[in-house]
């Protein structure tokens, strides 16, 4: 199968899967099997592109001309390859998790849920492989719309309000700023093609470069740079697998991915470095990193805490990209993957707690680690990754970000990373402590915890969550550690990206 065929099939696979899911809507087992199978096929397709990309190839295919000179086209470059790999793989895990979660909580409208999930993945793949800004924008908007039904899934007043905020901010920023930026870019550069080194060099006056950068950074609302971050906590009304999708697999990653892609392939590091004041991006992102962490520190709702943590972590990527140093860029790219794995683990754990113990607040988690050792063990690993401690993936990305910050001598960025590390520890570690070291407030009647200390009690009364959930979060937690031990493939891709832009 040629690479072009694979590229064509990649977004079509989830679409076909969605149709099959609709057809099998009356038979949940078949429907879920279809979901899993589609996810596996998609990952297979994406993974099959890796050797060529790793060897320096850039498979591409064109779908047609939307407007004169503006084509819808795919081209796989390292950054998109990494993003596609991460998201398509995590879809498999998330699907597995969803099965356990949706059934465990008797959620309504499950078919709609799976279908829109598949559609969201199709859009994500489109974003990852987009060869130009127009294609990126098209799939970016598609992703927003495909995820709306997932966010408003419960249909309650609260869910609808959350959905409104979600849609309002994401579409608002993308149409108000992002589209404007795209059109201005088109007007100035005469092309929207992503190309290493950028397309604006020599064509845009410095003041316009600054304006465009602002339009892109704030227009790509999925990156959740303050003050356009509110959609993320608002979207927490959704079921947990959706939060995982938003935070780890697709949506926010699509945001930071787009920002990095624009910085690298539309502006080019050199152009930005030469523009009048490129540091403002570091400051804005740094402010978001710190402020979101401070807000997270005061949250009692676990999912909200995680949401603000995401806001903070996303701006790490923006900050790293804003440093305009190749090595920091490697850090940014790695962090997309590292945060995806870590945060999905955390969300899986949150959902697992909700499914098995129906607890949502941090203050309710005392002693839960003894009852749910796998869940909270995974949570601890995810938390370590957020803090950036070895042996987790977050360490590797932090390493490169600091390397980049020191390379360009940006001490503000260094200070931000220091403070943020401490803040991350300050709001994650108490949860780990409470889970493992505090006595449980109302232990279940069964004499589980006291005797089974350190033992694994799977899915018993008062035990851990259903097996699909536990498997899913164990897999992601393991991967968080494995990405630390074997970052080779990710580094290879990031390295290629940097070489091309240097």
């Amino acid at each position: 199968m040629s690479a072009a065929t694979v590229l064509l099939l990649a977004p079509l696979t989830p679409l076909a899967g969605a149709v099959l899911m609709w057809l099998s809507r009356r038979r949940p087992n078949v429907r879920e099997a279809v979901t899993l199978a589609t996810a596996v096929v998609l990952f297979g397709l994406v993974a099959s592109l890796y050797p060529e990309v790793a060897a320096g190839g850039r498979p591409k295919t064109e779908f047609g001309e939307l407007l004169p000179g503006l084509v819808l086209a795919f081209e796989v470059e390292p950054l998109g390859m990494l993003f596609a790999l991460v998201s398509s793989f995590l879809w498999i895990v998330t699907s597995l998790y969803s099965i356990g979660y949706m059934r465990g909580n008797n959620e309504a409208h499950q078919t709609r849920f799976y279908i829109y999930f598949a559609l969201a993945l199709a859009a994500t793949v489109g974003i990852a492989f987009a060869a130009n800004l127009l294609t990126l924008f098209v799939f970016y908007e598609a992703l927003t719309i495909a995820t709306y039904p997932l966010v408003a899934h419960h249909g309650t007043e609260e869910a609808r309000a959350g959905g409104r905020t979600y849609l309002g901010i994401l579409l608002g920023t993308s149409i108000g700023f992002f589209l404007l930026a795209v059109i201005v870019t088109w007007n100035v550069a005469g092309t929207l093609e992503f190309s290493p080194g950028g397309i604006l060099a020599g064509k845009a006056p410095p003041w316009l470069v600054g304006v465009l950068l602002a339009l892109y950074v704030f227009g790509i609302g999925k990156a959740a740079v303050m003050p356009f971050h509110r959609w993320l906590p608002a979207a927490m009304v959704a079921p947990v697998p959706v939060s995982a999708l938003l935070h780890a697999v697709a949506v926010v990653k699509a945001g930071v991915f787009s920002v990095v892609k624009v910085v690298v392939y539309v502006f080019g590091l050199d152009l930005l470095a030469a523009s009048p004041s490129p540091e403002w991006l570091v400051y804005v992102a740094g402010f978001t990193v710190i402020a979101a962490s401070l807000i997270a520190l005061r949250q009692n709702n676990l999912k909200l805490l995680l949401a603000y943590s995401t806001v903070s972590q996303l701006s790490y990527v923006i900050l790293a990209a804003g440093l305009l140093s190749p090595l920091a860029l490697v850090g940014a790219v790695l962090h997309i993957g590292a945060h995806a794995l870590g945060k999905i683990t955390l969300f899986f754990a949150a959902g697992s707690i909700y499914t098995a113990a129906h607890k949502t607040e941090v203050s309710q988690l005392d002693g839960i680690g003894r009852r749910m050792p796998w869940t909270m063990g995974a949570f601890a690993i995810g938390a370590l990754s957020m803090i950036g401690l070895p042996p987790t993936a977050g360490f590797v990305s932090k390493w490169y970000m600091l390397l980049g910050a020191l390379q360009v001598g940006n001490m503000v960025a260094v200070a931000i990373i220091i403070v943020s590390t401490l803040l991350n520890a300050a709001y994650f570690l108490p949860i780990v402590y409470a889970a493992f070291f505090k006595p449980e407030a109302n232990p279940p009647a069964e004499p589980g915890p006291a005797h089974g200390r350190g033992r694994v009690a799977l899915h018993g009364e008062g035990g851990d969550a259903p097996p699909p959930i536990v498997i899913a979060l164990t897999v992601t937690a393991t991967l968080t550690v494995l990405l630390f031990l074997f970052p080779g493939a990710a580094l290879e891709l990031a390295g290629q990206l940097v070489e091309k832009t240097r």
Binding site: V396, I418, A425, Y433, G454
Partner: protein
């Protein structure tokens, strides 16, 4: 390949294995793992034993060296004795975490490059935090959080330093360096945070005494001594360390003298002792470095012993303040004797391990004709006896009769104490094996008549000072403010003030903004609402007026345009 595995991994892997076992198997494992590690430590030859590629670097995660082996040996011994001490008392998570902590420390001792070093360095933080937390008390939790945050800060300072160093030199090798650039100053600072150096020294007396009796024993050995190890490799002869070390010596003494909590006295005493080692590193001659290394080894053992005896008291009585204790020698003779042996060793009484190790540092200062340093070290030695050598045993085991009559602790605890007491005296009587392990050839004879006379005079008259001023030493229910006041008291208050002021301001600004926006938009919306002027149905006449107006305006404009 197996022989090149980092020896510390045995303990780290064991940490994950332990919770899965129970009963006798677990106990056997607790005792066997450190011994196996010890065996592995001695099987690593000098020089790089394992290389691998990680990130963009070629690392040597295992590199044998005399110094590393010395520290690793002490660490493994400590893990064994600590395991024995804890085997029946502690929660499994405490032993597991302590083993992970110890394993990571051993990992540092064999790290041939800065990346490996840093990874194990951070793992130590995780392990030690869990050790503190395993006490399960609220105060342990809070102290543990503070401990972690300070160490994460130190860790990231170190990380930045390492990254900067790698960026500057392109080399990841961990070797001797000088504090001659920002990044290497940061590395030094990162190391010193773990050594308990000022200003961030308060974490140690803050956190260690909040851990469980056995946990404190574990904790005392690793963090500060790995710091001594890395300073010794990286910054031997760095002048500033002499003064940092001396500051630590007297800081430890002064604060210990004011302290009421028996384990906190010993915690300050750790800083005091590490101060001697850091001073030795700062002097940097072979004699000084041998002294620091030997003293670190000896210190791990006698400080472990002291904390074991304190832990035994705490375990048996549940009390930790000197004001609550006293007269325990009656019912706890073994503990008392072991505590005294430890106290003698720390004060470098002849025939104890301290005597054969510590004075090498003073000797080195003298050899280099560093008069001030030498006099201060001598005063420090006297002060050690004052605050740890006498004060600890006196207030815990003697002074007034507290009425407590607890028996000696269970067998495993006194067995562990006896082992270390034996080592304290054994090394003092027969120091050859210790000297054989030191990094440089030993050109030092401890047992000379001059040395003996000097030491007896110094120590006995320090004792005289203690008993003469005993009324001044009376314990009170107090604590002494330290630098941690800034982050325990000042910073939280500041944050709260800022936060409440900040949220108040934010609320006011938000309110004002919203009101203003509403004020602007309200008429605007009013026009557009269904009943508004722009939305309601107009009578035909009104509509026609608009047509007329527009036509008139257009005509006027066009005519005017034409007339121009």
């Amino acid at each position: 390949m197996i022989e090149a595995m980092p020896p510390g991994l045995v303990l780290i892997a064991g940490a994950f294995l332990l919770p899965a076992t129970s009963g006798v198997a677990r106990k056997a494992l607790v005792l066997a793992l450190p011994l196996a590690t010890l065996g592995l430590v001695w099987s690593i030859p000098d020089g790089p034993a394992l290389t691998l590629v990680f990130l963009d670097y070629t690392l040597t995660p295992v590199e044998g060296s005399r110094l590393g082996r010395l520290f690793a040996t002490a660490f493994a011994l400590m893990a064994f004795a600590g395991g024995l001490y804890a085997v029946n008392q502690a929660r499994v998570v405490e032993i597991a975490a302590a083993f992970a902590h110890a394993g990571s420390a051993i990992g540092v001792a064999f790290a041939g490059d800065l990346v490996t070093l840093f990874v194990f360095w951070e793992l130590m933080i995780i392990g030690s935090t869990l050790v503190i937390w395993s006490a399960g008390t609220d105060s342990a939790y809070r102290a543990g959080m503070r401990y972690t945050l300070v160490h994460l800060f130190g860790g990231i300072v170190l990380m930045i330093g390492i990254i900067g160093h790698i960026a500057e030199t392109g080399s990841v090798t961990f070797e001797a360096m000088h504090a001659d650039s920002l990044s290497r100053w940061l590395i030094l600072a990162g190391f010193l945070v773990n050594a308990g150096a000022p200003p961030l020294s308060a974490w140690l007396p803050d956190a260690y005494p909040e851990a469980s009796p056995s946990a404190t024993v574990f904790l005392s050995a690793y963090t500060t001594k790995t710091a001594v190890y890395v300073l010794m490799v990286g910054f031997a002869g760095e002048g500033v360390l002499v003064w940092v070390g001396l500051y630590m010596v007297f800081y430890g003494i002064i604060y210990a003298l004011l302290e009421n909590d028996m384990r906190r006295i010993l915690a300050y005493s750790i800083i005091n002792q590490v101060g001697f080692m850091v001073t030795g590193i700062g002097i940097g001659t072979q004699m000084a470095l041998n002294g620091s290394a030997a003293h670190a080894f000896a210190h791990i053992i006698y400080k472990g012993l002291l904390l074991m005896s304190a832990g035994a008291v705490l375990h048996q009585t549940g009390k930790r303040k000197c004001t609550d204790l006293g007269g325990l020698f009656r019912s706890m003779p073994i503990t008392t004797v072991c505590g005294i042996v430890g106290a003698m060793a720390i004060s470098s009484f002849p025939l104890t391990s301290g005597f054969v190790s510590k004075d090498m540092i003073g000797q080195a200062a003298g050899d280099q004709l560093l008069a001030l340093v030498w006099f201060l070290l001598a005063a420090g030695s006297a002060g050690v006896f004052l605050h740890a050598g006498i004060k600890f045993p006196w207030f815990v085991f003697f002074q007034k009769d507290s009425g407590l009559r607890p028996p000696d602790p269970p067998w495993n605890m006194w067995a562990a104490m006896s082992l270390f007491a034996f080592l304290c005296i054994g090394l003092g009587v027969y120091p050859a094996p210790l000297y054989a392990m030191l990094p440089y050839a030993v050109n030092y004879v401890p047992y000379t008549s001059a040395h003996l006379v000097f030491q007896f005079q110094l120590l006995l008259f320090s004792g005289l000072a203690f008993f003469l001023l005993l009324p001044q030493m009376k314990r009170t229910l107090t604590l002494t403010l330290d630098f941690d006041w800034f982050y325990r008291h000042f910073l939280p208050r500041l944050c709260r003030a800022v936060a409440s002021r900040g949220s108040e301001t934010r609320r006011r600004v938000e309110h004002a903004t919203m009101t203003r926006i509403r004020l602007v938009l309200e008429p605007f919306f009013r026009f557009h609402r269904p009943e508004g002027i722009l939305a309601r149905s107009w009578p035909t006449g009104g509509a026609t007026v608009w047509v007329a107006v527009l036509l008139a305006v257009t005509l006027v404009i066009y005519y005017w345009q034409g007339a121009r």
